[in-house]
Chain length 349, copies 2
Amino acid sequence: MKRNQISLLALTALLAAPACADDAALREQAKGLFEVIPMQAPQLADNNAVTRDKIDLGAKLFFDPRMSKSGVFSCQSCHNVGMGGVDGLETSIGHGWQKGPRNAPTALNAVFNIAQFWDGRAPDLAAQAKGPVQAGVEMNNTADNLVATVKSMPGYVEAFAKAFPGQSDPVSFDNFALAVEAFEATLITPNSKFDQWLTGSDSAMSEDEKAGLKLFIDTGCASCHNGINIGGNGYYPFGVVEAPGAEILPAGDTGRFKVTKTASDEYVFRAGPLRNIALTAPYFHSGKVWDLKEAVSVMANSQLGAKLEDKQLDQIVAFLGTLTGEQPEVMHPILPARTTETPKPVQMN
Amino acid sequence: MKRNQISLLALTALLAAPACADDAALREQAKGLFEVIPMQAPQLADNNAVTRDKIDLGAKLFFDPRMSKSGVFSCQSCHNVGMGGVDGLETSIGHGWQKGPRNAPTALNAVFNIAQFWDGRAPDLAAQAKGPVQAGVEMNNTADNLVATVKSMPGYVEAFAKAFPGQSDPVSFDNFALAVEAFEATLITPNSKFDQWLTGSDSAMSEDEKAGLKLFIDTGCASCHNGINIGGNGYYPFGVVEAPGAEILPAGDTGRFKVTKTASDEYVFRAGPLRNIALTAPYFHSGKVWDLKEAVSVMANSQLGAKLEDKQLDQIVAFLGTLTGEQPEVMHPILPARTTETPKPVQMN
């Protein structure tokens, strides 16, 4: 009995042996395409210094529903730090129960994207933070009302003064955005199985997961989905080979064309960042596909003209599962108390 | 100069001296009426054992918007742990942007109330937790759909099995409610200035705050607002002496009458618990009063027929401010990932 067990172990070791050689070659290839998520939040251009005070203020603002006109929605409503940085809806529900036009992108690791939003219209997270707050279908607030709200609460006034020392009027819409950016930049998810493997731990990924990675590279997925976020760093037409159905790619949303007004940007979108993709269903800017396997199949067909076998799809999905990192541990902030000066929430338009 | 300072100190000491004697008498009186919030969550009847596993599961469920039909609202939406346990709205906004009938009561220290809801229709927090989840104007879910949602996610199935060991079918609506209750029972706010003073620290409250406490007792507020939550432990008619205007006390909401069908319970409500009241505007079951001073004035007039002077109102408000305790530190939970079996959110009715 014991002898049998040893033989089995030896056999397993033999079977595993070729994988080690494969690992080295595959890792070399992968290192040319992808990057590991760092353990610490990165430095931010145009937002120095990212102090603990600024991050703490940003957390308060991120979680505060009083930043919306109705008092119902905060950044956290659509970018839930406990749900992979998304809301799990096709497209977000906003002011007056309106349905937003596109699926909410994850806030996790968003700091590593080339730009923000599906069409990249915001160059950084600070610019992004100003969008949903003012969008009529989202938080429906105005910059003035947001600043008045914040200024009415001594707890916020003090926090802004600490986060932006030496400024004569620290409570401003620009500083709101910088504080939110500072907090969001901490929402990174290191130590995924993929990152552990990429940095040398052969056993961090299963054989199926490695086969999926190889397929992901060989089929061509990695030509758009690469870099630190396995996507999020370039713009590509949706439907290179064959446009998916109007359900998935609605004709009315021309993507980056709306930003650049350039004909070649019609139906062009930022390649979706695939970090934590197993947590962020539903998929695509339309949010119409709920099953990751189906999303991979749609992509293979429409972008690469590839018909993958069922097992291959499973292996790619298994690989994508290794992109789930350690989720951020966020203490829910205690928000400053309102005063009689604080603008009241308004639910009607 | 130094001599003057010493004289001033001596004078201050003299002036303060009578306050010490007063403190002892006032404290003795207060101890007969009020109780200190304990440092630890209390034991729960009918919910044994309250283990760390059960509390952690309850936190997940409390923060999970997928417990609502729309995927938009969680318990946290209306009982925000960072905003004094409320949503800061007149009445809560729920499914389809419907406006709820009454102001959301705080979840903080709610475990100490005699019963839950403004009319006390739920005997405990577990019974309470089942209400908003199924209410059409709130989360609009069904028990079956909630259980199907939870059962579709292995992360939840494991967490229920750990929280309810030895049960053959641990994922149930009853256990959902027990787990939420276990978490909510941890949301207590000890160490308020009032509690520090009540346990012997004369300097924890200012002279104005102590004067406010004395007024609170002498005017008669404490005849309804007493016990550990300074309220929340008995039922009283709103408008004992003079009914407030229909704006504050809408004619259609007959309060506890709806529960007991007893004529004498018309417009009877549970006395509002006043812990952390400075954080939980707007006030009353109608949520129509935003200013705590105005709320105190309305109460004095309608319940006690007392016309308090402006300074007296300020002192009572100052006392009420001492009821703000240490707010709960809650790590935002990481929620289990949905699967292809998870029911999709439905925003329409």
